[in-house]
Symmetry: C2
Subunit: 369 residues, 2 copies
Amino acid sequence: MTIKFEVIKDSKKTKARLGKLFTHHGVIETPVFMPVGTQATVKAMTPRELEDLDIQIILSNSYHLFLRPGHNLIAQAGGLHKFMDWKGAILTDSGGFQVFSLEKLNKINDEGVSFNSHIDGSKHFVSPEKAMEVQMALGADIAMAFDECTPYPAGKYQVEIAAQRTFQWAKRCKEVHHGLNQSLFGIVQGGTFKDLRIENAKKLVELDFPGYAIGGLSVGEPKSLMYEILDCTVPWLPNNKPRYLMGVGAPQSILEGVTRGVDMFDCVLPTRNARNGSLFTSSGKLSITNAKYKDDFTPLDNKCKCYTCQNFTRAYLRHLYMSKEMLASTLGTIHNLYFMSFLMKSIRLALLEDRLLEFKEEFLSNFLN
Amino acid sequence: MTIKFEVIKDSKKTKARLGKLFTHHGVIETPVFMPVGTQATVKAMTPRELEDLDIQIILSNSYHLFLRPGHNLIAQAGGLHKFMDWKGAILTDSGGFQVFSLEKLNKINDEGVSFNSHIDGSKHFVSPEKAMEVQMALGADIAMAFDECTPYPAGKYQVEIAAQRTFQWAKRCKEVHHGLNQSLFGIVQGGTFKDLRIENAKKLVELDFPGYAIGGLSVGEPKSLMYEILDCTVPWLPNNKPRYLMGVGAPQSILEGVTRGVDMFDCVLPTRNARNGSLFTSSGKLSITNAKYKDDFTPLDNKCKCYTCQNFTRAYLRHLYMSKEMLASTLGTIHNLYFMSFLMKSIRLALLEDRLLEFKEEFLSNFLN
């Protein structure tokens, strides 16, 4: 099945909506946060741990899997779900963002991108058609069109060229994409230029994708500017299709995105922070290696019901981080992903009960950094 | 409660026995293998994963915990069990082996050992009394006497001095050791000299410990010599007390130890091997990063019922190891510890059914490296 999206309830005071995204691998309640599993694994997590955390959908990176172990190998394995034993839904990105973030290794033209592997320096060329071939081989529930993501700041001419190219590539992606159980999302580009965003969104919507992402944000621009761009872009995206804000995972930004009508988010932040000892609590981020936690025998967050908080103290967690034990990353990631999962559940409940703005205000008044 | 040991059944054709070791943290069926949790964590495992693997008892290292986070901090936390949330039994070593393996950092005399921390170079002095203070603070179910472990090869005079010192230290340990829920084991030293082993064993047994370890083996001597020393030492240890062969964890050596009357084993081998991609199968060790497993979509061991073998292929495991993902270590460790747990269960069942030698022969004929 291709995906289906249903808006269950619209927020009265905001653009937010409670929704359901039907996929071949389960029904995803939205708004949803998608943890990142770059190399066919969410770092430090077993699939059963992710299931315990009620993770509904993860994101995996085509660019990385294309290079290692190779998309054909994963196709041979029966697809990415089977390869990594993940029973929930998967979204694969297109590699566009990696083209952007590994900029020094690449050359872009209208045909596609030539780049050198960050692993072994080998040369590769990815076109929109190739990006589709890779993602169809991976077999995720949602694939992303191949896009060009511009940095911030960038001149308007550069951004305009990239946005036009992104649109042309989206058309080419749509032409070659097919897959019984995979849906292709378009990606809106246009940097921080409102007119470019609106133009790009309008043209993409004409192509009638089953979902739309907003790319090229959260790349260094001020948060307020990101929210402005969301404010001007979202209204041009259809109400009956899911909207996905790429690369955004800070709790505050998720709340701002949700109230602006975004349904899906992904980011390495919660998992990367966890590995670095930066852990979310209801009162903000906490750096667990701080000396003051040495003999703190309370849980990380005494309001949290995750495995980590129910069974371990800050003192023990600090010891694990100071000793560079792998269990530090595992327990930290369990906690941060639980926090995200719980945040999204709370957002959905607030939407259901028509009190999203109240929830947002209360959350942000406690979550101080 | 201090520990109690009960021999359930003696093997008819060997010196092996099926036993039960009653501790404050559960009844341990013997022969048993104890995974190592050096820094208050079995590397890459959550406590609940260890429970799923039916791990009954783990070993933790006093030397490491003394240095970081400090035994007093762990006492403040309520002891090691509570600190690391491990509900099963724990045995702590005395630090003697670390004195031996970090030889260049230390100075030994009859009073104790001066050494520099491998973490920050700070100076420390550990006496038998200090080793007891540390282990009582940690609060494991079983503590070990402070011993001097000699290398292999070593001259007889050096070994004799160390064995005598180990005996004197054992007396001092016994004098100061107290603990409602902790039992102190003596350690037999004497290198590869049979007369020294026998003399040391006889003298230690007079001190009437609730259990006896055989230390200073598996330090580089030929396996056949280790078995000879076991053959001459075990008969001098009481039948009604548990016998523990320190630092031995290779499946073949465990079988040889069991048939010679050993009840308990510990070693970093299964967990360290797992992190290095050396995984146990019923036909021997397998190096998972070998290129031939690149597109091998079969389980690691199709006879194995562990989480790893039930859900993942060799190709996926190889990908995780090649990509240096933490999940590689987790899945590898789950498998290797399951293998050890299953091996020990099989040994106990064979003992119960009077077919230990047959089991040993069959296992060794399949397990080729």
